[in-house]
């Protein structure tokens, strides 16, 4: 099962999908595109990978285990 963790004021919003469920994959892909349009940054791990191995993700990957959505950085 894949999980999307979208950082927000609630802590984060969690979306899940299973690669075999076409409807869930389509909904997750739509959520991915929505976040990309908001210029958020995605980092993803594959099954079995630790979070410190997360890499930048440019397009939705239904085989990802976890996709983290974060915001771009600015100098303070």
């Amino acid at each position: 099962m894949g999980t999307m963790r979208i950082l927000d004021e609630t802590g984060d919003t969690v979306l899940t999908w299973t690669p075999e469920d076409d409807d869930a994959v389509a909904a997750a892909a739509e959520a991915f595109d929505h976040q990309r349009r908001k210029r958020r940054l995605a980092f993803a791990t594959k099954p079995g990978q630790a979070p410190d191995q997360a890499v930048a993700l440019a397009a939705f990957d239904p085989t990802a285990e976890t996709i983290y959505w974060v915001r771009p950085l600015v100098g303070g």
């Binding site: 959520a31 915001r71 950085l73 100098g75 303070g76």
Partner: protein, 196 residues
């Protein structure tokens, strides 16, 4: 005692419920546990709002609409958001980082350029690979409203996977003793030098 009302029977032993008491009041969640364990599940949710480890519930998708036409609602209590963010942060830190954060409120993130210390907003420590120390300020864009631990998750993930982005936008303060130990904004110093 946590309580809920059943909004919709989703089939397959899953029920959509709205929590009516406690920290999670107002949240709409899917319960997948057996009826006899649901109250215990709701109690567990208060201490583990993500419920990922428990595996008995999941958030519903962004397209779901209830009978009243409303979508899923986020937690209203910032304490709940803070706990969720803390849980997420702990899940992305390694063992040593977790221990450091629990003990000191700070943790280190190694990068190809040196080590960044997170834990004090607007005043991040950076020890360059040659040992020279700096303070820097980098934040997520539009961070207001985010729980503080979400900010550390944000910075940690970018530092690990795309450190160049972090250093490209960072504002720097030199804490080298040549400046009397006081932070000096490098940009201002360079301006002074250019006027000489």
């Amino acid at each position: 005692m946590p309580a809920y009302v059943v909004v919709e029977d989703l089939g397959g032993g899953r029920q959509l419920v709205e929590v009516t008491e406690g920290d999670l009041r107002g949240q709409t969640v899917v319960l997948t546990s057996t009826p006899s364990s649901r109250l215990r599940s709701l109690e567990a949710l208060a201490s583990d709002p993500l419920g990922v480890d428990a595996g008995f519930w999941d958030r519903i998708g962004p397209n779901w609409r209830g009978p009243d036409g409303r979508g899923p609602r986020p937690p209203r209590d910032p304490r709940v958001a803070g706990r969720r963010a803390r849980s997420l942060l702990r899940s992305v830190l390694d063992e040593r980082q977790r221990a450091d954060y629990d003990l000191t409120g700070h943790f280190d993130v190694p990068t190809p350029y040196g080590v960044v210390r997170l834990g004090t907003l607007y005043h991040l420590g950076f020890t360059r690979s040659d040992g020279r120390r700096f303070r820097c300020c980098v934040v997520p864009r539009g961070m207001h409203g985010l729980p503080i631990d979400d900010i550390w998750v944000n910075l940690t993930l970018v530092l690990r996977a795309d450190p160049d982005q972090f250093f490209a936008v960072a504002n720097w303060h030199d804490v080298d003793p040549v400046h009397g130990g006081r932070p000096v904004r490098l940009g201002r110093e360079q301006q002074r030098r250019s006027r000489r």
